[in-house]
Amino acid sequence: MAQSEQEILEGLAEIVNEETGLDTESVQSEKSFTDDLDIDSLSMMTIVVNAEEKFGVRIPDDEVKNLKTVGDAVSFIAKNQG
């Protein structure tokens, strides 16, 4: 069942917290993964793979570079959720 964007944001924040230790509250839609959250490419790949599992989506490697902000990732997941 598809989840709301708010649910996806909350789920993604948990994944980011697990990987980086960042507060879940700091993971907000307008935040840039690299510039605001200081997430490097290796951590990003882990977040992506964990998000795929959690949300039942496939995020192709080519797509990852387009996911600049947390909001980009939430929208992508919402759009592609089965």
Partner: protein, 414 residues
Amino acid sequence: MTAERRVVVTGLGATTPVGGTVPETWDAILAGRSGAKMMDFDWVEKYELPVKFAATIHTQPTDVLTKVEVRRLDPSAQYALIAAREAWADAGAPEVEPERLAACIGTGIGGVWTLLDQWDNLREKGPRRVFPLAVPMLMPNASSAAVSLEIGARAGAHTPVSACASGLEAMGYAYEMIRNGRADIAVAGGTEGAVHALPIAGFAAMQALSTRNDDPERASRPYDTGRDGFVLGEGAAVIVLEEYEAAKARGATIYAEIGGVGMSSDSHHIAAPEPEGAGASRAMVEAVERAGLTPKDIVHVNAHATSTPVGDVAESNAIRRAFGDDTDGMPVSATKSMTGHLLGAAGALEGVLTILALHHRIAPATINLDDFDPAIKLDVVHGEARKLPAGDIAALNNSFGFGGHNVAVVFTSV
């Protein structure tokens, strides 16, 4: 440089099977407590391992590190980081230019948990589920890199790998770096986190491990006729080494001086020690000579003594070969009787215990020595700890590794 640079020890850190810190570990050693216990990993029964006990870590890293640190570091690097933090804080976190600060952390095996966990991921879930940090976690230099990141060391991060001599070799390497002017301060030691099914199965296959499954705490018994192999341990030990004049000038606590380091290789057999101990004795003699001392000055030896039938005798032969009749009355302690064998961290932990023996002037008792093997020609401290003399004293720490690596370090009181 006009005068020779002297190198002293100003900080100690350890996380071991008998304690989560140096004070806890030292208390356990003086109390004669064993760190060996039955393993509760599911793979012990799953693979029907012939050895069901080990000297596992006393304090879980999850109790002292952040969740993210635990996630991103192999257990071996977690232990190294814990020990390095304690040592660095113990030294008073000295101010030093990063370019003059080094990190040298040896390991025997490296990130074997990560290697095997990620291999399972690959086989069960496919390549995409292999953790992106798999390689930097499993590489043997992960621990020296983690420590160099932690303290900001930029003079060099080095990882001596010489099986069970790695930890002491790393201390020797750091000593040389300071002595020859490449660094002013170094954080050095060894780490190992290899209590895992594969190393246990491998060591068991070569009949190196004790199989005393019904009595783990009595299994590590160096010099006893009933010894039947070593007890696998895990953990890390780290010291802070510092150029003497600078340490004195900043008013640092100086635990000991590194008097001299001796190293050699057997070129005899990939795993067996050379039975006459020629290579090992050369390392010991070299360490004593470089310290400007004679065998009579050595008042305590922390032996490698792993509790294998062959190894303990070979080391006894080597010590006698090195020191002759001066070996009589030279108190030898085999602390692996309590800690088990920490492989690449063993020499580092025993280095710390040798330093503490000098500092507190007490040689710890070897436990489980009920029936002394007449083939051992050493004065082994057992029953109770022995007081060391007042005045200027020196102690020797031996560490040997598969491959024929021999390292001996002489520590002196300051």
